[in-house]
Homo-oligomer: 133 residues x 2
């Protein structure tokens, strides 16, 4: 608990009950995972014996993303996918099962972007590998 209180305080977010519970669901696990808001809401209901308003889930996820505790995954879907793995990495997307799979940086050769855009710098390089049967 204390580590989440610190984490939130350090980023200027008040450690409210809801935010701490969402931290537990998101970060109290060895494995990182991918989720949509819909899936996260279900997970919260199941894991914590407390209902959190949908608006709060949206607010919190966006706040955490802004602070770098979550990453949005660029993918074409009607829903937005997030990742609790915020390290530099990539994704497989299984078109049939509609599932994401992590692709560590070392599983993709080094990527060297040769083209430069004037006055802009590269913030991130993300690879999406679509899979079919």
């Amino acid at each position: 608990m204390l580590k989440y209180i610190d984490k939130l305080r350090n980023s200027g977010l008040r450690p409210t009950k809801q935010r701490l519970q969402i931290c537990e669901v998101l970060f109290d696990t060895d494995k990182t995972f991918h989720f949509t808001i819909y899936e996260l809401e279900k997970k919260i209901k199941k894991q914590i014996n407390n209902r959190i308003s949908l608006a709060t889930v949206y607010n919190t996820v966006h706040a955490f993303e802004k602070k770098g505790y979550l990453k949005q995954i660029p993918i074409n879907s009607n829903q937005t996918y997030f990742d609790t793995n915020v390290t530099d990495h990539h994704h497989f997307y299984d078109l049939k099962d509609e599932k994401l799979i992590d692709l560590e940086n070392c599983d993709v050769g080094p990527i060297n972007i040769l083209k430069k855009i004037n006055g802009k710098k590269i913030k991130s390089v993300e690879v999406l590998v679509k899979l079919e049967d």
Copy 2:
């Protein structure tokens, strides 16, 4: 015109007036371009002196995508982006201006996906390079 009639016939799509007009807007140009449905609708209104129902624009774009005449660009946005450039290539995304820029394959080093997923094969490898100031 005839080339589009053939193009449509060859893919089992009836060459209707609307589809031919959308072909003109999409493919009668040297440069390829990126668009959302909203932008395409505006372009059609301006370029062709004829209104095409929004539903038809959606239907047609999806039909063309299925046939490989358009590509969807994986990006997190509330709107879906399409590309008339269907060659194997990548994108810059300028976060500030919310604009896409093509990144030819040769501008990105060769990408070698080392991890394999059982029973699945790679359909596409897409790189999104986010730009900031």
